[in-house]
């Protein structure tokens, strides 16, 4: 980037020091094209400043309260999940224990129940692992990783 380009950039940002203003004025006085370019910049800057990002369709005052609810719910879900995992593990363990001890249930039925349970656990772990791997190898997350 040349010095002239740097000065023009600063001119566009209205960020020129007094010395830089003089320097740019001197450059522009030697070349009419530079003057015209500066005028065009003023013209474009005026239009750029007439626009702003579209406002949200909700009030800014609501932002924190609705975010707080999401955060609270997130914490709720974590606690719920931990509770659910512990309860299900306990119930599963009790179920298998009682199943094995129950002499009225036939051996093939016991094996069937246990195989069903083990199969379900394997499938669950496999799907969860696949989802996690997919999340980690997401090309979009790589794109912004710095």
């Amino acid at each position: 980037m040349s010095r002239e380009e740097e000065l023009k950039s600063k001119y566009f940002d209205k960020n020129l020091s007094e010395e830089e203003k003089k320097e740019l004025k001197e450059l522009a006085s030697k070349d009419k094209k530079t003057w015209d370019e500066l005028k065009e910049m003023d013209n474009l800057k005026e239009v750029i400043d007439m626009l702003e990002p579209v406002n949200p369709d909700r009030e800014w005052e609501e932002y924190w309260s609705s975010l707080y609810n999401k955060l609270e719910r997130g914490i709720g879900w974590i606690i719920f999940s931990i509770g659910a995992i512990l309860t299900l593990t306990f119930l599963g363990f009790q179920f298998i224990k009682n199943l094995i001890r129950d002499s009225q249930i036939a051996l093939y039925a016991k094996c069937g129940f246990i195989a069903l349970l083990i199969g379900f656990i394997i499938l669950f772990v496999s799907v969860a692992r696949e989802r996690l791997t997919l999340m980690k190898s997401d090309k979009y997350s790589k794109e912004v990783k710095r």
């Binding site: 380009e5 239009v47 702003e52 990002p53 579209v54 924190w64 999401k70 955060l71 997130g74 979009y140």
Partner: protein, 181 residues
Amino acid sequence: MEDVLLIEKCKNGDMEAYELLVKKYMKKAYNVALFYTKNPTDAWDISQQGFVNAWKGMKRFDTRSPFFPWLYAIIKNEALSRYKREKKEEEKREEGLPLKTIISPEEYLEKEERIRTLKESLSKLDKEKKEIIYLRHYADMSYKEISEVLGLPEGTIMSRLYYARKALFKEYKKNEQGRRT
């Protein structure tokens, strides 16, 4: 209060500190999300999800780095993941920038042509140029902040912005002449 102090408090689970941090950056976060989604409802939602993810990952955050570039990366990531899920919206998202006029209706009538020309010209720029112009002029970010979020030196940002504006001038002039003829 300084970001570093707020973040240290957040790491200890202080929600009041996080509220201050959120209120400081919510508009910038929304504007960043808006650039990627082009839709105010989605931008609100994605920027909030960005803050939720930032809160979850706060313990891992290195306080020697500035907060906003990290949040920016989270929001961009969230927006792109959603964009990837909703491939149907692809074409729509490639359109112009989500901007509205801030002038009076009388003034608008007078300057309508120029505003339309600018919007058209902006929509014709490539994504990189559009992004840098949007961050500087509409997300109200300084050169330093842009350099932090894009991970490039300030000099490079200045140069890229110069060429992006130059391309915009060119496009604007071309469209302006096209309208006159």
